[in-house]
């Protein structure tokens, strides 16, 4: 009885908070623009691949490297494949890799950040030393070396991006945990005999969650850029078309000197738009969640 009552209260509170949040967020032009961009690409990734045909078969020599026309809106590539269809199909892999890698980074970052901040002392020193090492190692060579050794596959590229992108998040979450663990309710929880794990999961995690969420947006932007760069440098799965893999093939096949702009520009523009979409939302969230920045 008591349990359900609390649940209901919690739900009403959540609903109220969300509607207040949306009320403020709605006023933010940048935030809405970012949201529209991301919704567009999410729709493209979910529905798009069912609407276009991108078989990867050679359509015939006369259809190779054609500039845009009514039949092929964005022209064709060196194998006569439709570039527009490639961009649509590629959106799915690009977004999938970006989001999956972000989830890995956030989970590692949250665990290390909360553990370091909560336990303090030796645990904190060791974990933060480790984090600093990750922050100082040049990220692209590290990812390239790992990807080259593991071999080009979708799972490996997700793993490599996820495992290298958590250090900044861990630092931010640690500092927030440091302030939260001093609050009275944490002390009360400890006084009634709650264990460390219980406190971390039920008292600290919910309070650092907004921060994790805001950080996710920025990490996702970096993850999408990383996927594109790694794939461009030949570390992507060549059988799974993504925007980065497409740019890799275009570059290797000499699209630059051929002047095949229709093959090089569209995938790049998609990456830039998605990254901008995430960045816009990141800025907007910062403005909404941080009252100091809010304009009146």
């Amino acid at each position: 009885m008591l349990q359900t009552q609390t649940r209901k209260d919690r739900f009403t509170l959540l609903k109220k908070n969300l509607s207040t949040f949306w009320g403020v967020y709605r006023e933010n032009t940048m935030g809405i623009a970012g949201l529209v961009i991301l919704l567009f690409f999410a729709l493209m990734a979910l529905v798009g691949p069912h609407l276009v045909t991108y078989t990867g078969e050679i359509e015939g020599a006369e259809m190779v490297l054609q500039p845009p026309s009514a039949a092929h809106w964005l022209g064709t590539d060196d194998l006569g494949r439709d570039v527009f269809a490639g961009v649509v199909v590629g959106s799915r892999i690009s977004l999938l890799v970006g989001l999956a890698a972000t989830v890995i980074s956030m989970v590692i970052g949250a665990i290390i950040g909360i553990a370091a901040g909560y336990y303090g002392k030796t645990v904190d020193t060791i974990l933060m030393r480790f984090t600093d090492i990750f922050l100082v190692i040049p990220w692209l060579p590290l990812m390239l070396v790992m990807a080259a050794l593991l071999g080009p596959s979708l799972g490996n590229i997700i793993f490599v991006i996820g495992i290298t992108g958590w250090a900044g998040t861990a630092r931010i979450i640690r500092s927030q945990t440091l302030s939260i663990k001093e609050r009275p309710y944490v002390e009360r929880a400890r006084a009634i005999g709650s264990g460390d794990l219980h406190i971390m999961v039920h008292h600290i995690l919910p309070n650092v969650f907004p921060l994790i969420f805001a950080n996710t947006i920025l990490v996702a932007a970096v993850a999408i850029l990383s996927e594109t760069t790694l794939s461009f440098l030949g570390m992507g799965d060549p059988t799974r078309m993504s925007w980065g893999v497409m740019l890799h093939f275009a570059f290797e096949m000499g699209a630059v000197s051929f002047g095949a702009w229709w093959w090089l520009i569209p995938p790049g523009v998609c990456v830039v738009l998605v990254v901008l979409g995430f960045t816009f939302i990141g800025y907007a969230l910062d403005e909404v969640l941080n009252p100091k920045l809010r304009r009146r």
């Binding site: 390239l144 050794l149 790049g268 830039v272």
Partner: protein
């Protein structure tokens, strides 16, 4: 804290970082699926005896611990292994490709810092103006672009559609230059496009940091005091605001080194610039593992070392940290 204690602590951290990188590098190249000798030899038809002999020769039949000892010994004698593709010691290949990279990244970094600081000061001074908003939006867009893609756009614009610059490389292969000046001229023509691309990639962050840092300093009380004393705008900026606002730039330049290395790999690949970045791409494409491992180690140690120097420099420059 005393300066000596600080230096020692930072030095300890740096050594620890490098050691962790060494251990990581050692094990990373040994968790690969398959027999390392087979990967090393790359000949599927190798006989069992030859395989055995090579395994013993490389000490691969010893324990991992002993192997790590050999690895460290080789490193300290400058032996980074043998490149598959170049058929030369890895260190020799790296040293050969280092000067072009230093030339390109050095020029681009200096250029982007100078322009970035100037633009940052202008934007901060004219805060909220159309110029400021336009500049910020442009920095944001540049920041969202994959670096290699900026390079591709530049090549297409200025070397393919409007061919005023060479498409790549550092010189025209097979050309003999009559004078050193014509050689220098050719180098400059080849260098301009990659340098500008690189500077474009780096500049956005410098502009943003410089602008925010200056805005922060300008809201300090001592700036108001200086203004009240009747210090001219020009002196206010040059003597009171800039020295303090420049401080975060020192840290940023060091922190950015990892990003600069990443940029070098992409820009050099797109422009066929014969440096370390392109070497890494060649090593990746040719699955030249010893070379790949060598470049990674070399680059990481350089970046970690540079960060150590920047930490010391920052402490020397900012008297507030000393007390």
């Amino acid at each position: 804290m005393k300066m000596r204690g600080y230096v020692l602590r930072k030095l300890g951290q740096t050594v620890l970082t490098i050691f962790v990188v060494l251990v990581f590098n050692f094990f990373l190249f040994r968790i690969m699926p398959g027999n390392p000798v087979r990967i090393l030899i790359r000949n599927p038809k190798i006989s069992a005896e030859a395989l055995q002999r090579i395994t013993e020769q490389f000490g691969l039949n010893q324990s991992k611990f002993v192997q790590f000892g050999y690895y460290l010994r080789d490193l300290f004698t400058g032996d980074l292994g043998h490149s598959f593709v170049y058929r030369k010691p890895v260190l020799d290949v790296i040293m050969e490709k280092l000067p072009p990279t230093l030339l390109l990244t050095g020029t681009a970094t200096i250029l982007s810092i100078i322009i970035g600081v100037i633009l940052g000061v202008i934007f901060a001074w004219k805060r909220g103006s159309k110029l400021d908003v336009a500049g910020l939006s442009l920095s944001l867009v540049l920041y969202s672009m994959p670096s290699f893609w900026v390079g591709i756009l530049m090549v297409m614009l200025f070397a393919v559609y409007w061919p005023i610059f060479p498409i790549g490389g550092m010189s025209v292969p097979g050309t003999y230059y009559a004078t050193i000046w014509s050689q220098l001229g050719s180098l400059l023509r080849h260098m301009l496009l990659p340098t500008v691309t690189f500077a474009l990639i780096l500049i956005g962050e410098y502009v943003l940091i410089m602008r925010n840092s200056l805005l922060e300093v300008m809201s300090e009380d001592y700036m108001l005091t200086a203004r009240a004393k009747g210090v001219s705008n020009r002196n206010l900026l040059r003597r009171h605001a800039l020295p303090n606002a420049m401080l975060p730039m020192v840290t940023l330049i060091a922190m950015n080194l990892g990003f600069i290395v990443g940029g070098a790999i992409q820009v050099e690949t797109v422009f066929s610039w014969p440096g370390l970045g392109r070497l890494m791409y060649t090593a990746l494409m040719g699955r030249d593992y010893p070379l790949l491992q060598g470049i990674f180690l070399f680059v990481t140690v350089c970046v970690v070392g540079a960060n150590f120097c920047a930490d010391l420099l920052y402490r020397y420059l900012d008297p507030r940290v000393k007390s």
